[in-house]
């Protein structure tokens, strides 16, 4: 065959260049985070201390875990509003399993996480099979979970103090001697695993495909319904995990805690560059998004900004961060 003129010359070197550029972009997105970090470090001497940075990371854990799970759902062009109250329900179930039924931790904790998977499974079923728009399906789940958490717990916190080992899941220090809470390590591990799944597995690939064009994906012979259910159920596991992390941190399952977390988690995902219209997104972005939010909250509190002003500043900084990120991306795309 002739006419090789159309085949691009040196595809490899060009490929490499674009890879480096992509890396650089992510690095720069990270840059926004770093700017804020440096600012606070200079602005307040209390900010850049080991214990404060640790506690900032610690406060990222719950939102971060929820956000990572939701990233999958949002990349499929879905949404999950049930993560906040779903987390309360899972925490209550963890309490029921572990405190009331005395199931040992090595079984009870996975059970609680799986319970999150069941919540996701139901969401997935409603979305994929009953064809309920994700917003409504998960809104309904949000309401139901909220109610059930109260019903099951009789509107009272369930305390884990009969099982002292439970708290160690979040607050213990795996690395002996260093006061670095386990929850942060768990978040890091989970982020890495999620990133691998999103980028290196069939599940991840189909997550992107479905979000890009569900119809084209279906016509390519992929069972979109089945995969949607799997993805929602998989994301649900993160609800369960978050519930364990938060209830271990607090030493109790708080049945009314959690509403509003969905918005924060979704915000982290979106700030991290994932599109609500599906097809685009990354775990690294989500983690950065979650860090930006908790960094800002922490920094503003550390700087003793009056609370009524904190939200004003938070809003403005989020806007500025995303705007500069936009400009950067447009520049990079030139």
């Amino acid at each position: 065959m002739t006419a090789s003129g159309v085949v691009t010359e040196k595809p490899i070197s060009r490929d490499l260049a674009s890879t480096i550029r992509g890396r650089l972009q992510q690095f720069l997105a990270f840059g926004g985070l770093i700017v804020i970090f440096v600012f606070f470090s200079l602005a307040s001497p209390d900010f850049l201390t080991f214990s404060n940075v640790t506690s900032m990371l610690f406060s990222t854990v719950v939102i971060g875990t929820l956000a990572i799970g939701t990233t999958f759902v949002i990349i499929t062009a879905g949404i999950d509003l049930s993560i906040g109250t779903g987390m309360s329900l899972c925490a209550v179930m963890a309490g029921v399993f572990i405190v009331h039924w005395h199931i040992p931790l090595p079984i009870g904790v996975p059970l609680a996480i799986l319970f999150g998977g069941v919540i996701g499974l139901i969401n997935g079923f409603n979305v994929a099979i009953l064809k309920i728009p994700p917003f409504i399906a998960t809104l309904a789940m949000m309401l139901a979970a909220q109610g059930l958490a109260l019903v099951i717990s009789h509107s009272a916190p369930i305390y884990f103090d009969t099982v002292p080992a439970y708290a160690a899941i979040s607050t213990g220090n795996l690395i002996p001697g260093v006061k670095f809470p386990n929850a942060v390590i768990v978040l890091a591990a989970v982020a890495i695993i999620a990133a691998i799944i999103l980028n290196k597995t069939v599940l991840g690939r189909y997550t992107y495909s479905i979000g890009s064009n569900a119809e084209a994906t279906a016509l390519s012979g992929i069972n979109v319904r089945k995969w949607q259910i799997i993805i929602y159920a998989f994301a649900g596991l993160f609800i369960g995990l978050a519930s364990v992390l938060i209830s271990a941190r607090l030493g109790s399952a708080q049945p009314a805690l959690g509403q509003g977390y969905e918005l924060q988690a979704i915000a982290a995902v979106v700030i991290g560059g994932t599109s609500l219209f599906g097809g685009k997104g990354s775990i690294l972005g989500t983690v950065i998004g979650a860090l930006i939010i908790s960094l800002l909250n922490n920094g503003l509190q550390i700087m003793s900004v009056p609370q009524e002003w904190q939200n004003v500043v938070l809003g403005a900084v989020i806007l500025a961060a995303v705007y500069t990120d936009n400009i950067r991306r447009r520049k990079a795309a030139m």
């Binding site: 506690s55 103090d161 607090l250 030493g251 109790s252 708080q254």
Partner: protein, 300 residues
């Protein structure tokens, strides 16, 4: 926890970090203003923060953690869930930061003192007055501001317990919850009235709920329902003056705020003080509302 030494008293203005149960509600704003005015007097610097809702335990814990990171000279703390805060209490202790608990007790030996109201007893007082107002019989509804928080459950249970033991003629409806949303409280009240034409009395467990109860009664045009509330606030005081609300229990949030700062200053200076400071509550209605003693505890 490398939160260094306090090193405060050395000429620098002492810094007191106060973490409350809420922020934007009137009650907490009154506590805040009391604390601020006292701090001014004492020459201290304070910060005052609280989570958006009284169920947001995690947010409060984070706020307390951040407060500790600022190495304050003392901490004022109103725990949403005292057990969840226990490790942080230990951390404060090891950093030699004295803790003043307020509004409700902290399940820990760390706090130097606790300035609190007995919410259950206060709610019982409300129940007593309502029972008298309706003549010890009839249907009584409840609009409670929160389902799980300590103030919510104590004000609910205190009310219910008193009614159950002391007013056998009264039928209590299941409590409805307003999430401290005035608009929602008004809608709930109207629903309760619509569903119970024989409603004799109704109770609102905080400012928003009480004001919503007054609004709901007013909008429904229903006459003869006796209503009692909790806390104060301009609309609530007006409702009491106009008779829509029969009366209410108020605590003294301004004084609570002041006492937190006073106690903190004492603790910083190492002055001994009692383990418990009762901040008290007062019943007020149209008869005593202009009483200077009552006027002093009302906030608008």
């Amino acid at each position: 926890g490398g939160s260094g030494s306090t090193g405060a008293s050395g000429g620098k203005t002492p810094y007191i970090a106060i973490v409350s149960k809420g922020f934007s509600q009137q009650f907490w704003q009154a506590v805040k203003s009391g604390a601020e005015s006292e701090a001014k007097k004492e020459g201290a610097r304070i910060t005052f923060e609280g989570p958006p809702t009284e169920s947001d335990v995690e947010k409060q814990i984070t706020m307390l953690t951040n407060a500790l990171a600022k190495r304050p000279d003392a901490i004022g703390f109103a725990a949403l869930d005292s057990r969840a805060a226990a490790p942080l209490m230990q951390q404060a202790k090891s950093a030699n930061i004295p803790v003043i608990a307020f509004d409700s007790g902290v399940d820990s030996t760390v706090p130097v003192t606790t300035a609190a109201t007995d919410n259950k007893a206060a709610a019982a007082e409300d129940a007593k007055h309502l029972s008298q107002l309706v003549g010890g019989k009839g249907v009584v509804g409840m609009v409670i501001h929160d389902q799980t928080s300590q103030t919510g459950t104590q004000r609910r249970d205190g009310f219910i317990d008193w009614m159950k033991t002391n007013a056998p003629g009264i039928t209590l409806l299941p409590p409805q919850y307003s999430s401290s949303d005035l608009n929602k409280a008004a809608d709930i009240t109207k629903s309760i009235i619509a569903a119970n034409q024989d409603l004799a009395g109704i109770y609102g467990s905080n400012e928003a709920s009480a004001e919503g109860v007054a609004k709901g009664i007013q909008e429904s045009g229903k006459k003869g329902v006796k209503a009692v509330g909790f806390d104060s606030g301009k609309a609530q005081i007006d409702a009491i003056k106009s008779g829509t609300l029969a009366g209410a229990i108020t605590q003294n949030p301004i004084a609570i705020g002041q006492q937190v700062v006073v106690a903190a200053m004492k603790a910083i200076k190492g002055v001994q003080q009692p383990k418990f400071i009762n901040t008290g509550y007062y019943w007020y209605d149209s008869t005593n509302i202009n009483d200077p003693k009552i006027q002093a505890v009302l906030y608008q």
